[in-house]
């Protein structure tokens, strides 16, 4: 099997093997197998980084095998500089989630671990798929493990949250299916995504397609006003669920814009850029203010996620290199930072069984090492230079300024709001005198938690201090995409 297929199927098969260990009597075996599976998945993605040709345009590691020949559907995989990074991020985060759940999850261990491994494979498939139906299958099927993760291992209101999550995302993607079928007929009965990119389409058709894709991806990102599933899903999901949800699945929305909306409907994208920029800015400011008044830590971080993802859509729709690179870097960084923040809340939740900010205070007195890590991630969430959180926001603000002064002004308010809601929460939870006997009884990080947070801390700092290795992978693909997007398809249609 080729590298990409390995990346898709190794985690899925590992997940199935873990599942086969059955009930909780074999929990330790399930954990060991899950760890092996996650490590194997990360190892098979290493060649994607080392063998990736940074100068080459187009797709790499391509595999193409007929799948359903009647409808001209292929098992067609390939990655460019944009998608390859998400596969790496996904495998990396999945490994951390498996370690983080090690002793925390006590019931249905095999099923929990298996859900994450299978999820990882499906997500890799979505990032690598170059056939629209294959993409759609991966895109929808990844809902199932996440639905189960929230619905089974979640908090008290998990059923409401899981159903809301499922219906929201499923409804969103139905129109995308219609759009894909329309494109199938336009492209002489082919589901080849790269062929879609070359299609000549009149503006009104592009606009219909744009909205077809928009709902699917906007729900995933999520963009204002279709974001309200996220705070519920995050608050009720178990820690690992929140981490993967924030770090990985949201990115599929942002990725969708780059892979489908922009190249297939470039004229519509330009036409509706103002609309998209407005929605993004609402996400940055409105959601930033909403995050400020949250009393539940996970809900606060969930809102902060939406606000940060506003930068992704903003960077995408300003159509310049700084903005687009910023958007992608922001997605990767948000993967690390929000993942780390959810893990931090998980660390507290495992000890105190409360997500309420008011139940905490003075945690630094009993958990100084944890407080130091939490500080780093809080600062990264506030976009402090030297952390990964800065790079994307900085580039997007630079890009916005090239388009419109006031867009940049509104985007830059995140400097104030982001710091305000993050550090105010940090102050109330971590600083101060010991608030109650529960806080007084807290134990600092154990070795397992330390390792997970330390790895993420290293990633956050590395991406903040030396992001060049990441952006070097992106450069060619981003400039190709921008090149493609500037060429109108309307002239082609008339010809």
């Amino acid at each position: 099997m080729s590298i990409l297929s390995l990346n898709v199927w190794v985690p899925v098969i590992a997940g199935l093997i873990v599942l086969a260990t059955g009930g909780d009597r074999n929990a330790s075996r399930a954990r060991a197998l899950a760890l092996l599976g996650a490590i194997a998945a990360l190892l098979v993605s290493v060649p994607l980084y080392t063998q990736f040709d940074r100068a080459a345009s187009g797709m790499q590691f391509v595999e193409r095998v007929p799948w359903i020949s009647t409808f001209n559907i292929y098992y067609y995989l390939g990655v460019d500089g944009i998608s390859v990074l998400f596969i790496l991020l996904n495998n990396f985060m999945t490994l951390l989630v498996v370690i983080a759940a090690w002793i925390v999850i006590e019931k249905k261990v095999a099923q929990y671990m298996a859900a994450f491994l299978i999820m990882a494979g499906l997500v890799n498939g979505a990032f690598a798929a170059l056939d629209a139906i294959l993409f759609y299958v991966f895109f929808e099927s990844m809902l199932i493990p996440m639905y189960l993760i929230i619905g089974i291992w979640g908090g008290p209101k998990r059923v409401y949250a899981a159903v809301k999550f499922f219906l929201y995302t499923l409804l969103g993607s139905l129109l995308m299916l219609a759009a894909l079928i329309y494109l199938y007929f336009q492209a002489d009965k082919s589901f080849d995504i790269l062929q879609f990119h070359q299609l000549a389409l009149p503006l009104d058709a592009q606009i219909w397609l744009f909205f077809g894709f928009l709902l699917a991806f906007a729900v995933k990102v999520p963009m204002w006003p279709v974001h309200t599933w996220l705070p519920d899903a995050h608050t009720e999901a178990p820690t690992g669920g929140s981490v993967i949800l924030a770090a990985i699945t949201l990115k599929i929305g942002g990725y969708g814009f780059l892979r489908f909306t922009l190249p297939i409907a470039p004229d519509a994208s330009h036409h509706l850029a103002g609309f998209m920029i407005a929605l993004s800015l609402i996400a940055v400011i409105y959601i930033g203010l909403v995050a400020l008044v949250q009393t539940d830590m996970k809900r606060l971080i969930a809102y902060s996620s939406i606000s940060h993802m506003g930068f992704v859509t903003l960077g995408t729709f300003i159509f310049n290199a700084h903005g687009m690179q910023g958007a992608i870097v922001q997605m990767l960084s948000h993967g690390f930072v929000s993942g780390a923040l959810f893990l931090c809340v998980g660390v507290l939740y495992d000890r105190m069984h409360s997500r309420n900010i008011a139940d905490y205070g003075g945690v630094v007195n009993t958990m100084p090492i944890f407080a130091a890590f939490f500080m780093l991630f809080a600062m990264a969430n506030s976009g402090l230079p030297g952390t990964s959180g800065f790079v994307g926001e900085f580039l997007v603000v630079l890009g916005s300024m090239q388009v419109n002064f006031w867009v940049a002004v509104l985007a830059a308010t995140t400097l104030i709001f982001g710091a305000a809601y993050t550090l105010w929460m940090y102050k109330r939870v971590i600083f101060g005198a010991v608030a109650n006997t529960h806080v007084a009884a807290l134990k600092d990080l154990d070795r397992r938690e330390f390792v997970v947070l330390a790895v993420l801390a290293a990633a956050v700092l590395w991406m903040g201090l030396y992001p060049k290795p990441v952006t070097d992978i992106l450069n060619t693909s981003v400039s190709d995409l921008l090149q493609h997007v500037t060429q109108t398809k309307l002239g082609l249609a008339a010809r």
Binding site: L384, F405, F431, P467
Partner: protein, 650 residues
């Protein structure tokens, strides 16, 4: 890599190494080892800085990149060093004051459980500040800019169990972020128009953009450089605590005193001043921006000086004095007298560090009592502290011959010569403030060291001079605090800064009137500031030593004025009501009204309820009785037929 490049890296990275060792392995290596390591590395950095300065003064400047941070599109973002007269001077000041503060900390933080953490932070601060001043581009400047803000945040909240400290550090960070918001936009605007963030290329291109306009509102053209300079200055207002973004600095006194000396007086708060001087090629092209700078500085200098008069906390007096002195530096920048501004920055760094560290020494002796009203007569018990503070106070008050006199007089004279709009107002402010400065400085000296002892019996019995680790840095800093001023000839009027700072018309004219430091001292007796400063000292003597009953009477008589000053013009109340409260209410409103009620309530759950209700209603149609269905069919047929006929015949 050449030897000098190695040296630059060594100067910058030695403190970072110290911070990492003390921060990550503090527990393992223990307290004594933590301070030994950080101080040794700080010494390396300080000596290295002096070598660099010598080298630079011999004409060897440097501008080069260290590594590429990232590339995006056609832009390469670099991390690199610009070593010239300006940055080398700053490096020496920063590392020297920092070294002294490191040593002083051994005594001041002696019993603190966070000893190693403290050393780690101050070393990290020094690294960040060095990165800021050594930068050759806007990106790295912003890195250092925000990094010093971070360390300041950590240090103000160093005693994290105190509610006031953790309130103050959050406030400091957020107010600074407001400044950084403008600063970042300024940087983005530079990149958008100049296509580079490298100082050399931007300054080189600047004259070409002098006539360029941007339309922020349709039809209203603004000079591009004015917009850039004003946005960058917003950043400087945050970091250098200019009105109205000054509110964080007095509260930052919640941090340990060595920090107040190093960060909130001598170095970090001067970052804004340094930045504007560094950007002098841009500011010189925008008279509007310079006028704004001038007026803001003047307002800060006088209004904050007045507040210092009514403070009773010894550290807060010095803090407000810092605000006022930063105002002076800003005025110098606005008057295009950049060299004078930087010169005042240097003299102020020394005399203010002495005042703060001296205050710290008093606070130790007083068992952490900071209220001036409970001090008095300390002169006898703490001769070294008294003497050094007195010298620094003379420098601060601008008594001829002491360093502060030279730098402040240069600013006053430059303001007088300036023809920028607002210069008249600024001149009035800076001259009036000479009296105010002398008054509050000597009020502090007289209340703390002279007169009756007002402390309780217990404290009085234990009064003694601080140990050598405290007094040696005091003396080491007091010497330059007195003497540095005599270099004014070369620094301000000579070619000291070379090409690193733009020499304006004002400075050329001013230099023509300068006939050496001694002449400046002798000439000063004929000038108003000299007499104002003497009057300030005399007034303080009269009110606090001769007739100590008078201040209370005056307070009664001028209750209204006193109240305004005591409330610090109400900035804190206004901000906490308007911004903190406002943001929370809007956030709450958006959340409950937008997310919960409108989107979730109406759209999401509403559509679920609608579907539910609809199906409940539709279900009633399926009753299972044939005659219901038959009846409905007949109605349907009738309706369809009538519609069809109606449509045909109308």
């Amino acid at each position: 890599m050449t030897n000098s490049q190695m040296l630059y890296l060594l100067v910058a990275l030695a403190p970072l190494l110290g911070a990492i060792i003390a921060g990550l392995f503090g527990r393992q290596i223990g307290r004594a080892m933590a301070h030994r390591v950080t101080i040794a590395l700080m010494l390396v950095s300080a000596v290295g800085s002096v070598v660099v300065l010598m080298d630079v003064l011999n004409g060897h400047t440097y501008n080069g990149s260290v590594y590429t941070w990232l590339t995006a599109g056609n832009t390469r973002f670099e991390i690199g060093f610009l070593i010239d007269q300006l940055s080398a001077t700053m490096m020496v000041v920063v590392t020297f004051v920092s070294l002294m503060v490191h040593i002083y900390t051994i005594g001041y933080m002696h019993d603190d459980p966070g000893y190693q953490r403290f050393f780690s932070y101050i070393s990290l601060f020094t690294f960040s500040m060095l990165m800021l001043v050594m930068s050759n581009n806007f990106l790295q400047l912003f890195f250092g800019w925000e990094a010093v803000g971070l360390v300041s945040y950590l240090l103000i909240g160093f005693w994290y169990t105190r509610p006031t400290a953790i309130y103050a550090n959050l406030k400091a960070f957020l107010v600074n972020r407001v400044g950084d918001f403008g600063f970042l936009l300024g940087i983005a605007l530079v990149l958008a128009h100049f296509g580079s963030l490298d100082y050399a290329s931007v300054f080189g291109l600047a004259p070409k953009f002098a006539a360029e306009n941007v339309e922020l509102w349709r039809g209203v053209p603004w000079s591009l450089l004015t917009v850039i300079c004003l946005l960058l200055f917003v950043g400087a207002m945050g970091k250098s605590a200019q009105v109205p973004l000054h509110v964080w600095l007095p509260d930052s006194m919640e941090g340990p005193t060595p920090i107040s000396a190093l960060i909130h007086a001598a170095t970090m708060v001067t970052a804004g001043i340094f930045m504007v001087a560094r950007m002098s090629p841009l500011y010189e092209l925008s008279p509007t921006a310079l006028s704004v700078v001038l007026v803001i500085g003047a307002i800060t200098a006088l209004s904050m000086g007045l507040v210092a008069i009514v403070q009773n906390d010894i550290k807060r007096v010095v803090a407000y004095s810092t605000l006022s002195q930063l105002g002076y530096m800003t005025v110098a920048l606005g008057a295009s007298a950049y060299a004078a501004g930087i010169f005042h920055l240097v003299t102020h760094a020394f005399f203010k560090a002495v005042l703060f560290l001296g205050a710290g020494s008093v606070i130790i002796a007083m068992h952490h009592e900071q209220d001036l009203r409970k001090m008095g007569g300390l002169k006898k018990y703490m001769p070294i502290t008294y003497l050094t503070v007195l010298l620094a106070a003379l420098a601060s008050a601008g008594v001829p011959g002491f360093s502060g006199f030279f730098s402040k007089d240069a600013i006053i004279e430059a303001t007088k010569l300036s023809s920028a709009p607002g210069a008249g107002f600024a001149y009035f402010c800076v001259v009036a403030c000479v009296f105010v400065t002398a008054f509050y400085t000597f009020r502090l000296v007289f209340l703390a060291f002279h007169g009756k002892r007002r402390m309780d019996h217990h404290t009085q019995e234990h009064l003694h001079e601080s140990p050598a680790v405290v007094t040696v840095p005091l003396v080491a800093l007091a010497i330059p605090a007195v003497l540095v001023g005599w270099w004014i000839g070369s620094v301000v009027f000579g070619g000291y800064f070379g090409a690193s700072i733009k020499v304006s018309e004002v400075m050329r004219e001013f230099a023509g009137e300068f006939h050496g430091p001694l002449a400046m001292v002798l000439h000063s007796v004929q000038t108003l500031p000299f007499w104002l400063s003497l009057a300030g000292i005399a007034a303080a003597w009269f009110l606090y030593l001769k007739r100590p009953d008078l201040p209370a009477v005056l307070r009664e008589k001028f209750a209204f004025v006193y109240c305004i000053l005591d409330r610090k013009y109400g900035f804190d109340e206004l901000y906490s009501w308007l911004f903190a409260g406002g943001a929370r209410s809007i956030g709450s409103g958006l959340w409950r009204g937008g997310d919960v009620a409108a989107i979730d309530g109406v759209m999401v759950n509403g559509s679920a309820k609608f579907v539910g209700a609809l199906s409940a209603w539709v279900r009633k149609l399926q009753s299972g009785f044939i005659y219901h269905y038959a009846f409905l069919m007949i109605i349907g047929v009738v309706v369809l037929l009538s519609a069809f006929l109606a449509w045909r015949h109308l």
